[in-house]
Symmetry: C2
Subunit: 330 residues, 2 copies
């Protein structure tokens, strides 16, 4: 295992220490692994909380800030945070207008956020929840029942974060989150496995001449393995299942996401392939992201996310955002 770490069991807290040192605009609790804005938003606005296992950086901690999340709860690597920590984060950021939980559809996350919501409601905090399940690759998997939540989470956190920031109420924010989840789809692939520090060896074996299509962000199995193929063929295998699943013609936001170890020169090359295929199919790419946004430790590979957009979604997308992972307009 070749990693820039000290002891495997200290990776999360030592990385959070770096986040704290690098970003004075964030507050990082090294005991609970909760990241919040150093300056909370105004009283009377909905707060937005997300979280899940670590190893997907910048998701979620890197999306805390003005216009996006109020708090992120970082579990151990690929492990859901416990309900009490999600509850603590919820309580910490509530500004009297309720809190939205953004949960990726993995069994542990769904259960723990559900329990946290119940605990928070006992504290008198109104909680709304959206469960993101955008991955068209597989139905049911190692970590989840139903579709997995992957890349769309990034776009949803941005759009819903903007709605909360401008003062929309909890019902409106929840409805928007459900709309975004219904209108977005993702699909990923891996050239290599990832290596969880505590395991010390790759999660799975993928021979030097093979790739895996439909991989999950924890290295859980995808649809199938096949020999390495050109980028144009990979792009087709990612785009076609997305388009087959939902009518995405018209304006859209598209993300070409790196899995952690794939350099930008390759991500841009893949984006050119993906964009050409989407546009040929009638998708009008109104906005895009190309880079590492939801990763799987040191996995090499990429994923594609397409979100059907309307004027309202684009307006919220363009609203100012100031986070370590996404920043514009301010």
């Amino acid at each position: 295992m070749k990693k820039l770490i000290n002891k495997p069991e200290d990776v999360l807290v030592e990385s959070l220490r770096g986040v704290a040192a690098a970003h004075p605009e964030l507050s990082v609790d090294l005991d609970t692994h909760v990241i919040t804005r150093a300056t909370p938003k105004e009283q009377g606005k909905v707060a937005v909380v997300s979280g899940g296992g670590s190893g997907h950086e910048p998701l979620h901690g890197g999306f805390v800030g003005v216009g996006m999340l109020d708090a992120a709860v970082a579990g151990e690597i690929f492990t859901s945070p416990t309900p009490d920590r999600v509850q603590a984060a919820t309580k910490a950021v509530d500004r009297g207008a309720g809190v939205l939980h953004i949960v990726k559809n993995y069994t542990g996350d769904v259960l723990n956020f559900e329990m946290a919501a119940e605990l928070a409601e006992m504290d008198g905090i109104e909680v709304g929840t959206v469960v993101v399940d955008d991955d068209v690759a597989v139905q049911d998997s190692l970590y989840t029942a139903g579709r997995r939540g992957v890349g769309l989470t990034v776009l949803l956190e941005k759009i819903v974060g903007a709605a909360a920031e401008e003062g929309q109420d909890l019902a409106a924010v929840v409805a928007l989150a459900e709309k975004v989840n219904a209108q977005g789809r993702s699909m990923g692939m891996a050239l290599t496995s990832c290596t969880v520090p505590a395991a010390g060896k790759p999660t799975f074996d993928l021979p030097d001449d093979q790739m895996e299509i439909g991989i999950g962000i924890h290295g859980e199995p995808g649809r199938h393995r096949e020999p390495l193929a050109p980028a144009s063929d990979i792009a087709r295998q990612l785009v076609e299942p997305i388009l087959a699943d939902l009518d995405l013609t018209g304006p859209a936001i598209v993300m070409l996401n790196g899995m952690g170890a794939t350099p930008q020169i390759e991500l841009y090359l893949m984006y050119a392939e993906v964009a050409a295929l989407l546009e040929k199919a009638g998708v009008q790419i109104a906005r895009n992201l190309v880079g590492n946004y939801i990763t799987s430790l040191d996995m090499a590979g990429c994923s594609v996310t397409v979100l059907k957009a309307d004027d309202e979604i684009l307006r919220l997308w363009d609203a100012p955002v100031i986070t370590p992972g996404l920043r514009w307009g301010a």
Copy 2:
């Protein structure tokens, strides 16, 4: 070789096609591999041009935009762009107030930019040049005489780009560039080799239990190899040579840069180590960057850059910048 590419010989132009598709605010010439702003800066301001071999993305093309570069010239992977293309870029962005060339100290780049400057001057364009040579690791190397130009280039392009944007004249911009170069130092290390697509195999062999300290951004040799060590030890081996080379006490801008295949969770962990060592030595970190800014294809590893800062440098650092690779304040 596991990469998201089609044919190795098409990687650069196909990646540039992705840059063009993703960034309508840039103009990408797919014949000359020159990236410019779609909307040029006002007449009467100094223009800033950089470039060099590709494979270091986001450097340089990802730093074209308001507040930073006017043009970037992308050579083939790890290969200097030819003088005629640098000349064409210089001519394209000249707004009548002269052009600054930012050149990393590699023999090919220095020669080609020198020739391009002569050609541009024959066209009546005044050219100033700064050669960045911040790498304390080695004196002379496979690609260069003297010290190599590495991470400081990112900081210099931002600071000098801001000075040009606010209307400082060519003499002032050149003097600032030289000051920044004199006040900054870098040092890098690798956990793995990179693989140049055309070569199809790793540039060098680095056993599974070894790392290389003082590596260059083309995989050229560093100071020495040794067994894998904890992050705290690696941090010390990067910071100590920097501090031994220059008095960097007082305010500074610090960059913890990823080499391309190292995930953010590790970069933040390394930043915590590096920041603690620097602060103990009297460096006051006023600003920082943690992420992939000057990479070496799919190399795993990191580098540290420290730039001694004063009020003027910090003011220019904080000025608005709108590029794919760095963005804030607008």
